[in-house]
């Protein structure tokens, strides 16, 4: 192993990891506020990628410009899903049910995407997609850097919203305790709908970058959702900072394993890291230890 490999893994960790972190942040935010595990996040990323693809192929709209359309669209998709299926979902089985409901939503979208776009892999194209530049001995793909910048911008906007706005206070209060938040007059239902919308909207950006850097079809969503879930559990469910660090860390570890042993083991390494971390810290890296006393 040499310094270049390490540097290159660190670069990938930060560039690609931040995009995963963006997608995972949506997931962990939804969980934090609503106790819902959105299994459909994986297929929604793919849906976001296909939207960019459709805009590009049919209307020749640039990938980044297309985001102005796909982000609001995905926000609406999120709002509709929340309204249709989660308003009624209450009671002790809520989280368990949410997994199955979102999985069913995921199957539905997967079937539809297969029928519309066929099961053949596609990849998003653009004049800049394959361009790269080098600093020293490390090569930077343009699209990866752009993805990183996009993720940083969107994550910053998200953090700003959460920590500097009135709405953010409502969201954080709902994360801390839904009942108390409702008692102090926060419209938890409205907050939930908007948070779900935002959590899904980030998949438009994530999906565009993902689609430009990977060939994909609808079934790619399984690989994606498994990684995203790994990230949020590793970071500690509901923890935004945890999602960020775990996203970067995971890609870094995967790359290192790929360099040291073989790329076939790199995806497996995520899950092994997860299992090992949970042995030591069952609540994840930044998760709260759940109290025994209700």
């Amino acid at each position: 192993m040499n310094a270049t490999a390490l540097l290159s893994a660190a670069k990938d960790g930060i560039l690609t990891g931040s995009v995963y972190a963006l997608m995972a942040t949506g997931l962990t935010l939804i969980f934090g506020v609503m106790d819902i595990i959105n299994i459909a996040q994986g297929i929604l990323v793919i849906l976001g990628a296909y939207l960019s693809y459709a805009l590009q192929v049919h209307w020749h709209i640039d990938l980044f410009v297309g985001l102005l359309i796909t982000i609001p669209t995905m926000f609406l998709v999120g709002v509709v899903i929340e309204r249709l299926f989660f308003r009624r979902l209450t009671g002790p089985e809520r989280t368990g049910m949410s997994i199955l409901v979102t999985y069913a939503v995921s199957l539905l979208i997967e079937g539809a995407l297969n029928m519309i776009f066929s099961v053949n892999d596609v990849q998003l194209q653009g004049s800049y997609v394959n361009k790269s530049f080098a600093i020293g001995s490390v090569h930077f793909g343009f699209i990866y850097v752009a993805g990183f910048v996009l993720a940083v911008v969107l994550l910053s906007a998200l953090y700003f919203m959460l920590y500097r706005t009135r709405f953010g206070v409502s969201v954080r209060a709902s994360v801390a305790d839904q009942t108390s938040a409702a008692l102090v007059g926060i419209d938890v239902k409205r907050v939930s709908t908007i948070v779900f919308g935002i959590g899904v909207a980030v998949t438009a950006a994530g999906g565009m970058i993902y689609g430009a850097t990977n060939a994909f079809n609808a079934s790619t969503s399984y690989d994606l959702i498994s990684r995203l879930l790994t990230i949020i559990v590793l970071g500690g469910m509901g923890s935004l900072g945890g999602a960020l660090l775990a996203g970067v860390g995971m890609v870094f570890v995967g790359d290192m394993v790929g360099v040291i042993w073989s790329p076939v083991w790199s995806s497996m390494s995520y899950f092994v890291v997860l299992a090992v971390v949970l042995l030591v810290r069952p609540q994840g890296l930044f998760g709260k230890q759940s109290a025994r006393v209700a």
């Binding site: 002790p92 999985y103 539905l108 297969n114 879930l229």
Partner: protein, 341 residues
């Protein structure tokens, strides 16, 4: 259970036993085999996840382990192709149990929500392992000793063995529900910490329930491998299997005995039928997703519980109409108090 209920079970078993006698078309008896395998798996999944509330989404680990046990054992022991291979079915179940213990030990240390995700992660470890390790044959899969039964007859033995393990699964699930162990699982579902404070050994109870549920699923996987004659890692370690058994149980009614059976019967036979008729998997995905969402929207506790609740409500209304001997008793219907159907 009343005599009446026993006789309904007897009628159902007889109907299933007669199916291959009446319907001899191999296409349909094959659908029968797959459906029975899913009925067994969903029942067994429900025996742990439905009773304890710990939703596992990695059950195909056990299915795959059972399948690979059947494949590797029959190949390495040079078994004569034929009915003798059925003896490996219980072995597949046992190996799955052995694998389930360390998995459960890791996964059950965390709380419910995280547990789901860990089971998914462990599933991917196994799937990627099966693809990448040498002894599994990688993506090329493994070919089992080739059974040369006549096509008109080939499915029938598998059908009856599968029916047998459905019965095993039902008996285990019913026995658990009537045992103190089942009571402890239900207590864990309702309030795990309180149960701990009343002396329930929650760790041991959860782990043994988890491992027990692996047994039938492992056996089903073994039958599948033998039935197919050829296995591939992505088909025996299949994420849609994980969801299917869970969705089937929810569809029918989580924590009930008949719910998972009904769910698997409806959904798996429909899936097979749609696939055979239209040879279009995507159509099935849409059908499955939509049907589940519709059911869960209108019957949030599943089909079986929906009708049970209605019957209870009717009974309660009837007893309200008559002067009650205990007027001070609350008249609320008792949701899910008796899940054993």
């Amino acid at each position: 259970m009343s005599k009446l209920k026993y006789s309904w079970w007897a009628v159902a078993v007889a109907a299933f036993a007669l199916f291959p006698v009446v319907v001899t078309n191999p296409t349909y008896t094959a659908i029968g085999v797959y459906t029975l395998l899913f009925m067994a798996c969903a029942t067994s999944w429900n025996m742990f996840s439905g009773y304890s509330g710990y939703i596992a989404l990695g059950s195909s680990v056990f299915y795959g382990v059972g399948a690979y046990t059947m494949a590797l054992a029959s190949i390495h022991w040079h078994m004569a192709p034929g009915a003798a291979m059925f003896w490996l079915v219980p072995l597949g179940g046992l190996v799955a149990v052995v694998i389930a213990v360390p998995i459960g030990w890791i996964a059950l240390r965390v709380r419910r929500h995280t547990f789901v995700v860990i089971t998914i992660a462990i599933f991917f470890i196994f799937q990627l392992g099966a693809i990448n390790f040498g002894f599994t044959g990688g993506t090329a899969g493994l070919s089992l000793p080739f059974i040369q039964w006549d096509a008109s007859y080939y499915n029938v033995p598998f059908y009856y063995v599968a029916l047998g393990i459905v019965l095993v699964a039902v008996v285990i699930s019913a026995a658990v529900r009537r045992s103190r162990f089942g009571l402890q699982l239900l207590a864990i579902r309702d309030d795990e910490d309180r149960a701990l404070g009343l002396g329930v050994k929650v760790g041991a109870v959860k782990l043994s329930g988890f491992a027990l549920s692996a047994f039938v699923i492992g056996m089903a996987g073994a039958i599948y491998a033998m039935f197919q004659g050829q296995i591939y890692p992505q088909f025996v370690f299949d994420p849609t299997f994980d969801v299917s058994v869970a969705l089937m149980s929810f569809f029918g009614g989580l924590g009930t005995l008949t719910g998972p059976l009904l769910g698997a019967l409806v959904l798996e036979s429909a899936q097979q039928y749609l696939t055979v008729t239209y040879s279009n998997g995507s159509l099935y995905l849409i059908f499955f997703g939509a049907l589940f969402l519709i059911v869960i929207t209108f019957m949030p506790r599943g089909v079986v519980n929906f009708f049970l609740d209605r019957r209870r409500a009717t009974l309660a209304a009837a007893s309200m109409a008559n002067p009650s001997p205990t007027p001070s008793a609350p008249s609320t219907p008792t949701p899910a108090a008796r899940s054993l159907v």
